[in-house]
């Protein structure tokens, strides 16, 4: 009778927002909400990068032993292959802050100071031609960077295929290439 119903008990203990300051690190990237205080420059970011990132991502973030380039690809979204980098792909600049802070350097995630994250983000976006050499990256400036891929995202609208259950006299299984040929006349 009560199977699957919520029980009339709760075992959660109250927790205060103040308890979660070290936890609550996700950035609302469209507007930069929750970006912390701090600031970083391109040259400072170059230093951070060369100390903590270059081993994996290579000289000037152009690709290293364990990961491809972090630079370029802007304008490639209508080409094949699309080249995916923070510059070309991220719709909102603060995504880079959020990701680097939580996940990079891969061998020591969450080890960078906020200033270091701002700085290395300035360096990477500068290499991508999105911010000038003298840019000062902080909570305000980061949220304002105009990202080329900003309007490229659409929400899921599947089902988008409308296959039918044909049992006999059907069109043989097609290929990706067949899809670009004109559709067969209705049968």
């Amino acid at each position: 009778a009560d199977y699957g119903q919520r029980p009339e008990v709760g075992y959660g203990k109250p927790v205060a927002d103040a308890d979660l300051v070290l936890w609550n690190i996700d950035i609302h990237t469209p507007d930069g909400a929750n970006l912390p205080a701090g600031e970083g420059t391109v040259p400072a970011g170059k230093l951070v990068y060369e100390q903590k990132c270059i081993a994996c991502h290579g000289e000037k973030a152009a690709g290293g032993p364990v990961y491809g380039t972090l630079v370029g690809g802007i304008g490639s979204m209508t080409k094949s292959p699309r080249v995916l980098t923070p510059g070309s792909m991220y719709p909102y600049a603060p995504i880079l802050f959020d990701y680097v802070r939580r996940a990079m350097p891969m061998d020591a995630p969450q080890s960078l100071t906020n200033d270091e994250v701002y700085a290395v983000a300035a360096y990477i976006y500068n290499l991508n031609g999105l911010v000038p050499d003298d840019f000062k990256m902080n909570a305000t400036t980061m949220a304002r960077i105009e990202m080329p891929n900003r309007d490229a995202f659409v929400r899921d609208n599947r089902p988008d295929t409308l296959a039918e259950r044909c049992m006999s006299d059907c069109k043989p299984i097609g290929t990706v290439a067949d899809a670009s040929k004109p559709a067969a006349a209705p049968r």
């Binding site: 996700d26 950035i27 995202f153 659409v154 409308l162 049992m167 299984i173 990706v176």
Partner: protein
């Protein structure tokens, strides 16, 4: 009995040169039972392993994946030791006694839970498949995989046990503005996904049990989110933080990753549900048929939108289809096994399966998908009909093209 085909029965019972010997195993003691143990497969089944992605090779093995040997899976339950993996920074190690789960954000009462707190709730157990959104990514325009482990092995099925997430969110008290829920992991990537509140309140679970035991570390021990029928990466492992929000943060994993290339440079995002799909696991790539005769064609069908109602098979590349038997229990959002008795005439054949689910959705071909999406080098949600060819030699090969 009825007349039987089969070579053996044609000849009489002529005695062999020497009688069958007594097997050695009957004449020696077996291995004794140890005081305590957690058993493992026999050495003769050593080849049945989950394997790291070896068609698409990642340059490091921390943000990487391993694949379930579907060609060896028997029944619908995937043994935990063979359950596929996808991690973004390796397998986190978490002491359950120290682990804390927090619910905060747009709630009336932010809450903190220990594992002892969580397991004290009543629980539910449900059988569901789990599939990675990138499953079958190597095989879109042309055959890259040899085996079905390589092509479809980011797929597995288990009985999951845990607590409905809706209970804990109701306990925290979701504010009216709370429309999405963010889930964050305790791994070195801080993996994070935002989920619409409707799904969370519908059938989402906080799971700590898988196939009769606590989660393995690779599956998020001590606790993970589980969204039945939704892509594996939404089911955040090593779960430590749940935040109710008004709209998603749009972080990297919600924009630059787990989004699907669409025409005109667009990207489809928050494409969570794993639509109806199926694949023949036997015969499948790398196998070899031993001459004409009866073969039971077997495979899996599954849908993130409901139950499997029908599976059809073609042997002539899609011109004609015949209905396969579905073996029960055929559960909601669960791997479902189909079987069909095929008499191979020894000639070349092109086999494929096509599943239909309880919403009436029919599994498309890659051609159908390619007409509406622009998948280029970044394959997600490839649920296309997957053909294998059987050559006259009996060799079975990947026939995607």
């Amino acid at each position: 009995g009825a007349a039987l085909a089969g070579a053996g029965l044609m000849t009489g019972s002529v005695a062999k040169a020497a009688p069958l010997p007594i097997p050695e195993s009957n004449t020696v003691m077996g291995d004794p039972i140890p005081a305590e143990s957690y058993g493992l497969p026999t050495e003769f089944e050593k080849h049945v392993k989950r394997r790291r992605s070896d068609v698409f090779k990642n340059k490091q093995n921390f943000s990487d994946w391993s694949m379930t040997p579907l060609q060896h899976q028997i029944g619908i339950v995937t043994p935990n030791g063979l359950f596929f993996e996808r991690h973004h920074n390796g397998v986190a190690k978490i002491d359950p006694d120290k682990h804390r789960l927090v619910i905060h954000g747009l709630v009336d009462r932010p809450l903190e839970f220990s594992m002892d707190d969580i397991v004290r709730y009543p629980s539910v157990s449900r059988f569901h498949f789990m599939e990675c959104s990138g499953n079958t990514l190597t095989d879109w325009r042309e055959p890259k995989s040899v085996t079905v482990q390589q092509s479809h092995g980011l797929l597995a099925c288990a009985q999951w046990t845990g607590v409905p997430l809706s209970w804990l969110l109701a306990e925290a008290g979701v504010k009216p503005e709370g429309k999405w829920v963010m889930f964050e992991g305790g791994d070195g990537s801080g993996h994070l996904r935002s989920i619409p509140i409707e799904k969370v309140m519908d059938d989402a679970l906080l799971v700590y049990g898988q196939n009769g035991e606590r989660l393995r570390a690779e599956q998020g021990y001590p606790i993970r989110a589980f969204f039945p029928g939704w892509e594996g990466n939404t089911c955040v492992k090593w779960l430590r933080r749940i935040k109710v929000v008004a709209e998603p943060d749009q972080i990297r994993g919600e924009t630059a990753r787990y989004s699907d290339p669409m025409p005109n440079g667009k990207w489809r995002q928050f494409s969570m549900v794993m639509e109806c799909k199926s694949v023949i696991t036997s015969p499948s790539g790398g196998m070899s048929l031993k001459g004409p005769g009866l073969y039971e064609v077997q495979g899996f069908a599954w849908s993130g939108n409901g139950k499997i109602t029908n599976v059809d098979l073609t042997f002539d590349g899609g011109r004609t289809w015949r209905e396969a038997a579905i073996e029960g229990p055929a559960l909601d959002k669960c791997l479902t096994r189909f079987r069909y008795r095929w008499n191979w005439d020894g000639g070349p054949a092109k086999l494929a399966s096509r599943a239909m689910d309880s919403t009436g959705y029919v599994q498309p071909t890659v051609e159908d998908i390619a007409r509406v999406r622009e998948i280029s080098g970044f394959v997600q949600h490839h649920n296309g009909i997957f053909p294998w060819t059987v050559a006259q030699s009996g060799e079975v090969s990947n026939a995607i093209a």
